[in-house]
Structures are given as structure tokens and as C-alpha cells.
Symmetry: C2
Subunit: 120 residues, 2 copies
DNA sequence: CAGGATCCGCTCGGATACTG
DNA sequence: CAGTATCCGAGCGGATCCTG
């Protein structure tokens, strides 16, 4: 148990699987994008509008990373103008199960946290 | 649902509780520290040694932030040399429940993710 | 429409040195 | 022992402009 997060095991495979996985989706946008893709397929621009405060640059980068890690599936339709749709893969969907539990927790407890924060 | 992460609701309270909470523990060390504190009380230097690759600077900063948000409790003993012990608060313990589900998921799926990653 | 390329500021986080 | 102060580099992420 105490070694779950240990970082000194191997040289080739990533030392700690948990840090390996969580560090990559711990950026500012990954979780939000995955959650926004839940139960639907959506195009790049629509996703951009829905999230609102993300730059197209970061949306593109983050989608690419999530695709590379296997969380999402990108489908290109050979049309003009081009159409590209994003959806969760099976892996992405399975990830949202524990993630939704965390989201629920955050919803339930953010008031307590803000209260503690203000007490300084 | 689609508005869970929305960022345009209010001006005073944080717009999105989920982003509010998750953004703050989404740094490099918070989750690892909380997990390391699970089911025990531990001193600063012991914590530092156990995590290994964190600087004392960041350990101190992150502990302070986690304490301020109410996740952990800091107890000072008036001795010489000084002794300070850290432990999870009730909030911190309750947070680890959904978090552990995520950790389990990461453990179960990191191989699939690394495989997808290497297929490029 | 769906992005890539470029530039650039800002924050995260490490190293080191110092303090009560 | 348990931190704080200072300095600094690397990379995240935004803005803008360009392309197929």
C-alpha cells in the first residue's frame, strides 16, 4: 500500500502506474473534455463553444493527447468543409465511472472546502 | 449535466464547483500526499523521505494548501526539537473514497493506456 | 471547418541557503 | 526538526495568424 505511488521501481516501464495515468489527465482541460464527451458525439467547433473558455490551440492539443492515450476516438468524414467528430472510447467511458464518483464528491463538498478556505 | 462544468454562472462564488475543487488538487503532489497520509499520522521529514522525489519546498507549500482547504490537520508539539504531525481530516478521508476508486481504475488500465500510447 | 505554427507571459516546481 | 526566502528554468496555456 505504501508503495502504490513509489517512483523507484523500474527504469523502462513507468515507475508508478497511478502517477503515470493521473499526471497525464491532471492538466487543466482533460477531465473537462472527457466529461463533456460523455454519452455523445460532438464536432470540434461545437466542443469549443460548449467549453467556452478554452483556446482552440489547447483544445486541439488536449484532444490529440487523449486520442493517443486511447480515451477518445476521432472520426474524420471526407467532406468539404471537413467534419471531424469526437467521442469516448470504451476506455474513456470506463474512466468516467470512477471519475463521476469524484465529481459527485466535489459537488457535495465544495461548500465545506470554500468555508475552510475562507477561515484562512 | 452539460452545465456541470459551466464557468459563467456567478461572479462571487466560484463559477464551477467541480473545477474549483479539482483544479486545486490537480497539481503534481496533492493526490500523492493525501494518499500517503491515508490511515496514519506522519511527521514532515518522514513524509518527505517516503515520497522521495518531492522538494521540501513543494512539500511544505502543498501541505499548507491542503491544510487551508481542510483536507489535512496539522498538529504542533511544543518540544525541542519541534515535532509536527500531519493527518487526514474527516474531509480528507471522505475524499479518498472516490479517489481510491480512481486509483484502482488507473492500476487496472495503465497497461491498456501505455499500449495505446505506443501504437502512436 | 478543423486544425498547425509561432510567439510569449506566467505559474509550477526544483535547488540552494538560511532561520527558529 | 520543520520549515521560509530567494532565484531560476521549463513547460503550460493563451493570442494571433496561417493553411488545406
Amino acid at each position: 500500500m505504501t508503495k502504490q505511488f513509489d517512483d523507484t521501481s523500474s527504469q523502462f516501464d513507468h515507475p508508478c502506474p497511478i502517477r503515470d495515468v493521473l499526471d497525464r489527465i491532471g492538466d487543466q482541460w482533460s477531465l473537462l473534455i472527457l466529461k463533456t464527451l460523455e454519452n455523445r458525439t460532438i464536432r470540434f467547433t461545437a466542443l469549443h463553444k460548449e467549453i467556452g473558455d478554452i483556446s482552440r490551440q489547447m483544445l486541439s492539443r488536449t484532444l490529440k493527447k487523449l486520442e493517443k492515450d486511447g480515451y477518445i476516438v476521432r472520426t474524420i468524414y471526407a467532406e468539404t468543409p471537413p467534419r471531424v467528430e469526437y467521442a469516448l472510447s470504451d476506455l474513456g467511458q470506463s474512466f468516467l465511472k470512477p471519475m463521476n464518483a469524484l465529481i459527485t464528491w466535489a459537488n457535495d463538498n465544495h461548500k465545506a472546502i470554500n468555508l475552510a478556505r475562507r477561515k484562512s
